[in-house]
């Protein structure tokens, strides 16, 4: 397998990066106190969701190099488990989500044992097949999953925490839960990347056979990576189900979901921590604006009779998948390392120009 051009992760993390991250989190946390428009908070939640999905996929796809295009299996399991436990068994989602994560991890062990002996494109095909099998089964076994009717959320009970009652009617509570989940996922990713586990994963990505010859148990570590990835993807699924309040097999297990998860990492910069964040920042606003250009008017960015809004409404309504497709093609052809790669190239070029002219020429 051709080695990828990615640089290995730094062992330590710079203090500057940590401080920047903390500052960003604090800013995001106080943001809803100033901006109350529900549409903006909605965008924030979708952004956090995309970040969680991207970070989770990165563990198996970016670090370990196993491109799973069937992650909707875990996302859907998380969504359905949380939803069904709440609707059928009246278990609130803050407990239900743990069950969702656990079931996803069990599923990942099953899937891993089946698919990990396949390499490269065959693994991609197998992962897609597994997700499709689960989707078709969910559609067919109506007694259990209500089939194509799906589940409609009635209401989320309020959460009593530290003496206060947190309700889940407004978007604000979801915003904070989303932020919390995103921070936890990023922290978990960072922990993995800077641990021995992370090194094993990257060794597997770079050259499976070499890693094996060094004594790394391939199937064990691949399964660990998939389990971690599955757990966080399922958490995202459960959160999604509670937020959008309706799921059916196509929304939860569809191939679209799997492709979008992969896109977040590819567009942003695969195998890095900030990559999925960048990818989310590109893809989510794009898809939300195309789905609902009036939203831009609501938040006051554009005026109500702006030509842009009208153009999008007439020609590009629901064309976000088209734009995603174009984005994928452009990224793969011209920037396979994503937005992060482009940024690195620009920064690298400006740095080189600042060094002395008689310094040794660096490779292009």
């Amino acid at each position: 397998m051709t080695p990828s051009p990615l640089r290995p992760a730094h062992r330590g993390s710079s203090l500057a990066a940590l401080l920047a991250f903390a500052a960003a989190v604090i800013l995001l946390a106080i943001f809803p106190s100033f901006v109350k428009k529900p549409y903006v908070l909605h965008m924030g939640v979708m952004l956090f969701l995309a970040v969680i999905q991207g970070q989770a996929w990165n563990v198996i796809g970016g670090y370990t190099g196993q491109y799973s295009v069937g992650h909707s299996a875990f996302f859907g399991i998380g969504a359905y488990a949380t939803m069904m436990l709440l609707e059928v068994n009246k278990i609130p989602p803050w407990w239900g989500i743990w069950a969702a994560m656990a079931s996803a991890m069990i599923l990942s062990l099953i899937i891993g044992s089946i698919t990990f002996r396949l390499r490269g494109p065959y693994f991609v095909l197998a992962s897609i097949s597994v997700a499709e099998i689960i989707r078709l089964a969910a559609l067919h076994f109506k007694g259990f999953t209500r089939g194509a009717e799906g589940f409609l959320l009635s209401s989320i009970p309020p959460l009593h925490l530290f003496g206060t009652e947190i309700e889940f009617f407004t978007k604000r509570s979801f915003y904070y839960v989303g932020l919390l989940l995103a921070v936890v996922t990023i922290a978990a990713n960072w922990a993995v990347q800077h641990s021995k586990l992370g090194y094993y994963f990257q060794a597997i990505r770079e050259d499976q056979d070499a890693a094996h010859s060094l004594g790394i148990n391939l199937s064990f570590y691949k399964n660990v990576a998939l389990a971690i990835s599955a757990a966080f993807t399922a958490a995202a699924g459960g959160f999604f189900a509670m937020f959008v309040k309706f799921i059916d097999p196509n929304i939860a297990f569809g191939l679209d979901v799997s492709v979008q998860i992969v896109l977040i990492c590819i567009v942003g910069g695969i195998g890095t921590i900030i990559g999925p964040v960048l990818g989310a920042m590109v893809l989510v606003p794009l898809s939300e604006i195309l789905r609902n250009p009036r939203g831009l008017v609501q938040v006051g960015v554009l005026s109500a009779d702006s030509g842009v809004v009208r153009f999008i409404e007439t020609y590009l309504s629901n064309a976000h998948l088209l734009v995603f497709g174009i984005l994928v093609v452009v990224v793969i052809l011209f920037a396979p390392e994503g937005v992060l790669g482009v940024i690195r190239r620009i920064v690298g070029r400006s740095r080189r120009r600042r060094t002395a002219p008689d310094a040794a020429a660096s490779p292009a």
């Binding site: 295009v69 197998a126 499709e132």
Partner: protein
């Protein structure tokens, strides 16, 4: 027993068209080692082209085939020259993502142009059937099976008796050796993708009278095409033909004997089993 025979027969007839899709995909993979995720969307384009020609001019789909197949050939050649050619040496995962992106572009452009409404193409014989010894043979399916057989025969002849065809097979066997023999592999790649697309578009034309036509119809066929190609052996045309027939029959029998809603699931389970136990398929040469 009649149910079984009827089911086998329908399965074989549909399997013929599946074989066409599979053969196209296997040629593309054989020559370029690219896993074309947009294959079903090429079929979808063939369906829409046929529907468009039919609604504008009333031309019978099986005649329109003479127009849609070359059209899809040119489109496939264009895709190869402009997009696929640049990633021939990239990671296979990136190749897959590129074709996924192209597929998304194709299906969503059609959605914007024609909306997601289901279209149907009904000819005078769309629902008629022949009675053969107590079994019902669907007329449109029979015609498409015969045309498929003719196309496959022509393809066989092209690949084994003409210089260009042998050049394509040589490129599939060993790209570098073919180059050393003086074969312009860039041309054969373009030809291969063009032929693959033309076959997929032809399949779309042939099934247009019997299927709903909508922009997302491609993805189901892409996945099925992969099952067929893996079953037959990546790169083997005879294998893909056999694979198509087998999958057609399997699907048909599963609909009767397992459950109608689970027939696609059975195909996917078969796919997983294949990938695990015999990834080189029936007739494939096992390559990494």
């Amino acid at each position: 027993m009649t149910v079984f025979l009827q089911s086998m027969l329908s399965g074989l007839l549909v399997g013929g068209v599946y074989a066409l899709i599979g053969v196209g995909l296997t040629i593309i993979f054989g020559v370029m080692r690219v896993i074309n995720f947009a294959h079903g969307d090429l079929l979808m384009l063939g369906m829409y082209a046929t529907w468009f020609i039919f609604t504008k001019s009333g031309l019978d789909p099986y005649v329109a085939l003479l127009a849609t197949a070359p059209l899809l050939f040119l489109w496939g050649a264009f895709l190869q020259k402009v997009f696929i050619n640049r990633v021939l040496n990239a990671l296979p995962q990136n190749q897959i993502l590129l074709t996924i992106g192209l597929g998304l572009i194709m299906s969503n452009s059609m959605m914007l142009l024609f909306t997601s409404d289901y279209r149907i193409l009904t000819t005078t014989y769309s629902s008629s059937s022949f009675d053969v010894g107590g079994l019902s043979v669907s007329q449109p399916l029979l015609y498409s099976f015969l045309i498929t057989a003719a196309i496959t025969g022509a393809l066989f002849w092209f690949l084994s008796r003409t210089d260009t065809g042998q050049a394509i097979r040589a490129t599939a066997q060993d790209r570098e050796a073919a180059q050393l023999m003086g074969i312009n592999v860039r041309w054969t790649s373009i030809l291969a993708f063009g032929i693959g697309s033309a076959l997929s578009g032809a399949a779309g034309t042939l099934i247009a009278p019997t299927y709903y036509i909508y922009p997302q119809v491609g993805s189901a066929f892409t996945l099925k095409a992969f099952v067929i190609v893996v079953l037959g052996g990546m790169g083997s045309i005879v294998g893909a033909t056999l694979g198509g027939l087998i999958i057609g029959v399997t699907e048909s029998l599963a609909a009767i004997y397992v459950a109608s809603g689970l027939k696609e699931l059975v195909v996917f389970v078969l796919f997983l089993a294949l990938l695990l136990f015999r990834p080189s398929g029936l007739l494939g040469k096992s390559r990494a």
